[in-house]
């Protein structure tokens, strides 16, 4: 159950330690307290998983709302992905007889590079405007900041992929709106943003973060890239379920491992010494 405590430091600390409700601060108990008098604000402490998830959602929805207004990240990602598909179409058109042969590679290369654009802004924008300090100052478990960012990045990249797939259909005449391709995209994108968000946080304060992030990230992304590629190729070629399930399993395991690692290490990234 949530504790309702007046914000008066020594008392609230006591409240946290003993887990009992506190009397309201005397200042707050006056009939018409000044809005700037201490003890006029009530905050929940504790709250467990529900409070944690509320903060994750607050951070993700803040990023999504800011993006809806600014249209900085998604429009760049969507435009880049369509242009990249067109360029690949022009590059392969003369030499490849069957477009299905190159489509899996085109899809995943486009996803990798499109994702970099969004990930770079994820923490970079917070560092540039200094709002990262405000996030770090809040009484929020830092892993909640990570998961909020993962959620927002996941939405941005999946939305960009929803634009990439029709572009591939038009340019390469290959329909990738198939169940297993979509499953692969969902799992692969989750793995990508889970690692990418962690590395974006690592690179955020570096001067050359735009070039540093792909150098750090792309080698670690090879398992996701290979599994996604295989999964898409097997589906496009119409090969067996057994192979599909193996690659889905690899993607799911990758997601689980890196989400767990990120949860464990994210707090340490901000231990500025």
């Amino acid at each position: 159950m949530d504790q309702h405590c007046a914000v008066y430091m020594p008392k609230l600390i006591n409240c946290k330690m003993t887990n009992i409700s506190l009397p309201t601060d005397p200042i707050a108990a006056t009939p018409t307290p000044s809005p700037l008098a201490m003890g006029t604000v009530q905050m929940r402490t504790g709250g467990g998983a529900a409070a944690y998830l509320r903060k994750v959602w607050a951070i993700a929805s803040k990023d999504l709302r800011a993006e809806l207004r600014a249209k900085e990240i998604f429009s760049t990602m969507a435009t880049f992905s369509v242009l990249a598909v067109i360029i690949f179409g022009l590059a392969f058109d003369l030499r490849v007889q069957r477009s299905a042969m190159v489509v899996p590679g085109v899809l995943w290369v486009v996803i990798l590079y499109t994702g970099i654009l969004g990930l770079n802004r994820s923490f970079g924008a917070e560092v540039d405007r200094g709002s990262l300090s405000a996030l770090l100052l809040a009484p929020v478990d830092r892993s909640a900041i990570y998961f909020g960012k993962v959620l927002a990045n996941l939405v941005f990249l999946l939305a960009a992929e929803l634009i990439t797939l029709p572009a591939i259909l038009v340019i390469f005449n290959t329909n990738l709106f198939q169940t297993w391709v979509l499953v692969g995209l969902l799992l692969g994108t989750l793995g990508y943003v889970s690692v990418g968000t962690l590395f974006a946080a690592l690179a955020a304060s570096a001067r050359a973060r735009e070039s540093l992030l792909p150098i750090l990230l792309l080698p670690v992304m090879l398992p996701v890239f290979m599994a996604g590629l295989k999964l898409t190729a097997i589906t496009v070629d119409g090969r067996g379920m057994e192979e599909l399930q193996r690659w889905v399993g690899i993607l799911a395991a990758y997601d689980l491992i890196f989400l767990t690692i990120a949860f464990l290490v994210f707090d340490m990234l901000w231990e500025e010494t």
């Binding site: 430091m9 905050m43 207004r69 405007r129 709002s131 300090s133 809040a138 009484p139």
Partner: protein
């Protein structure tokens, strides 16, 4: 009897080979406003960020309300409000949305009344629905102050809060600081304006080359005396 809400002892901080803080000791009691003065590079911002828990010192302790920062968890961050050089705001969101977002992070219950109170206190209520990107520099700074006091922290750290403020905004900030200080908070502020430091603070503290070289109640000083001390410290 007043008690110290901010107690800094023997604080050292190095960046590479440069030692920025060299054994700083400082105490700010509840209801007390202390102005931290010093030239650029004296270590004021580093000290503020260490007290805020954003930077770890190499040696020394920061104790807030009797709790050591190094041993405290995320909950202690509820008791700190920081105004920094940067506004720490989201310019694509409105003033109201910014404060509502931080109210969620601080788990504030029914935050609407509090958001309204702080927006009125910094004279931004009429502009609450406008995007922060449309605000003037002074308005952004006032909203940054609203964000810092939103969760009603007993410890307020104001790093050059008067930067970019015009005369009326500066007066508003002065009134705010007096009200906030009078409500049993401990306020540590930095400024380059020596007259303003004397006007706003109960005591002044001069930081030079990472060390506190002078500390006195503001009533014992006047502008020329403080300027002389400041110049002497610069020549040390």
């Amino acid at each position: 009897m007043t008690k110290p809400l901010i107690a800094v002892s023997n604080l050292y901080k190095r960046y590479g080979s440069k030692t920025v803080l060299k054994g700083v000791d400082l105490t700010v009691d509840e209801g007390h406003v202390m102005a931290l003065l010093g030239a650029n590079g004296a270590g004021k911002t580093t000290l503020m960020r260490i007290v805020a828990g954003l930077v770890k010192p190499h040696r020394g302790d920061v104790v807030l309300g009797g709790v050591a920062l190094s041993k405290a968890g995320a909950e202690l961050r509820r008791y700190i409000g920081l105004v920094s050089h940067l506004p720490l705001l989201y310019d694509n969101l409105s003033g109201w949305e910014n404060l509502a977002f931080f109210a969620q992070l601080y788990d504030m219950q029914q935050p609407e009344a509090r958001i309204e109170a702080v927006l009125r206190a910094v004279d931004l209520w009429q502009r609450r629905r406008d995007g922060v990107r449309t605000y003037s520099r002074g308005m952004v700074q006032r909203l940054a102050i609203a964000r810092a006091i939103l969760h009603d922290p007993p410890v307020l750290l104001l790093d050059e809060p008067d930067t970019g403020l015009d005369q009326s905004s500066s007066q508003l900030l002065h009134d705010l600081i007096r009200q906030l200080g009078a409500a049993n908070r401990a306020i540590l502020l930095t400024t380059h304006n020596l007259d303003r430091a004397l006007e706003w603070a109960d005591s002044v503290c001069l930081l030079h080359d990472g060390k506190i070289v002078y500390q006195a109640p503001a009533v014992n000083l006047d502008g020329p005396a403080l300027r002389r001390l400041y110049a002497e410290a610069d020549q040390l």
